[in-house]
Symmetry: C2
């Protein structure tokens, strides 16, 4: 890669930066500094407006899909990044959560590297960890859980991290990992079938589940229920439908949380 970029020194560098779960101050210091120095910022449509206050100087371009709304195809995003690196020096691709989980970063990295453009990745706080922080509950716990898996059952993972899509769940093959604690991204539409599958895999009906939406934003809300209740569709009416939702399943969530309401509109906190 350096071979190519050395012969075309005027090419800019592209930073794939994780914006984190939503709150503007949950981006990394490195990410915020790069935003402040960027010529152009391509951001997911779901990135909070407050996040873009870090880069008043930059040209800001919304890309990426959002729930049921107009979206930019991944190939077109890739092309725009390559084009931008031919015109600008510091290009930021700002992605929700962490770029390396359910983020389609590989497609962007591959296309940029093929064009001889230098790429650097700045990690971000992924939704599962921000949820654990909000819930004040570790995803691993001595004697209870020593592994945690992040999975998605959505047929197609959107260009935007954390977005749910209306997919035909009837034909979705379910292949869930077997970790002690399980976090499912973009699982809203498959909540019932995921719960049924986990019970079929041997998880007890009373396994605690937390569902959390719009993590770390003012609109954050969470729901506490059991696996059996989720299998029976109890979460269906609760979902907002617009906000990204995360399903968290495992014995750790029965550990210490005071909130035992089936439905709560307020943040679960101790």
């Amino acid at each position: 890669m350096t071979k190519t970029s050395a012969s075309i020194p005027q090419l800019g560098k592209v930073y794939l930066i994780g914006a984190g779960p939503g709150a503007a101050d949950l981006i990394t210091v490195r990410g915020a500094k790069l935003l402040a120095a960027a010529d152009v910022v391509f951001h997911d449509a779901l990135v909070e407006p407050e996040m873009l206050a870090y880069c008043p100087q930059a040209e800001k371009i919304a890309v990426g899909k959002r729930c049921g709304k107009h979206s930019t195809a991944q190939k077109f995003i890739n092309k725009r990044l390559v084009d931008a690196a031919q015109k600008h020096q510091l290009i930021v691709r700002l992605k929700g959560g962490d770029p390396m989980i359910f983020g389609r970063a590989d497609e962007e990295i591959a296309e940029l590297q093929e064009a001889g453009i230098e790429v650097e990745v700045v990690p971000g706080i992924t939704a599962a960890l921000a949820a654990a922080a909000s819930l004040k509950q570790s995803l691993t716990l001595r004697g209870v859980a020593r592994s945690v898996a992040f999975s998605t059952q959505a047929k197609a993972v959107d260009a935007t991290n954390g977005v749910n899509r209306a997919v035909d769940t009837a034909n979705t093959s379910i292949d869930l990992p077997t970790a002690d604690t399980l976090v499912i991204y973009m699982g809203r539409n498959e909540a019932v079938s995921i719960a049924k599958q986990l019970i079929a895999q041997g998880r007890v009906m009373t396994t605690p589940v937390r569902i959390i939406e719009a993590i770390s934003t003012k609109r954050e809300r969470s729901l506490s229920l059991t696996l059996a209740e989720m299998a029976n569709g109890l979460a269906s009416d609760w979902f907002d439908g617009q906000a990204p939702a995360l399903l968290l399943v495992g014995a750790v969530f029965g550990n210490r949380l005071e909130n035992t309401d089936i439905l709560t509109n307020s943040r679960l906190s101790a």
Copy 2:
């Protein structure tokens, strides 16, 4: 909890903050701001000195275990946090990586809440995601991997996130999750047995493995090998022995990485 703290309003608030993988600018903006406002900072012994430059005003106290060296017992850390909240207003407990993965945060939170002390958790970049960023390789990939699990096989998880301990591997029961991509924290001493177990579980011998040490620091180094090679002990001589090490296993690592050396002292980058 609020009941108790209302009657003792002079109690301080404790922030459990994830320092991230090592580099000072991979902490969150929120974490850095809280450090700058802290009265006292209890930090893992492994936290990089540069990170503590955020809090010149604070009393800084190293706690937590480190590889083979003197360490502070978890119960004693819990007690010191409670004591500090009775003397100071803003107390930071700075933990390597993310507090909610392999970090024993629950014990600290429980003890603080029992004492009526308010606790807030600020997430951090966990080592697996920082490793993915350094390797420029997503942990999930369309058509290749739609789940990733983080696990530890160390018998005891240290108070310090990401620390390896010399444990008797002969008696360690191995119970690895089945996600497409697997990241093992603190797995250095169990590398051979983990590889053998994964092969026994049905992973192909040629499954790519990456091992990465001292992620995001100047001492970062990584190794590329196959599962069969790890099972044969090829990584054993490579380990530094002092730095935290992460094992990453899965087909995604055969995707696009140019570096195919068995041993490399330089950072794997494209």
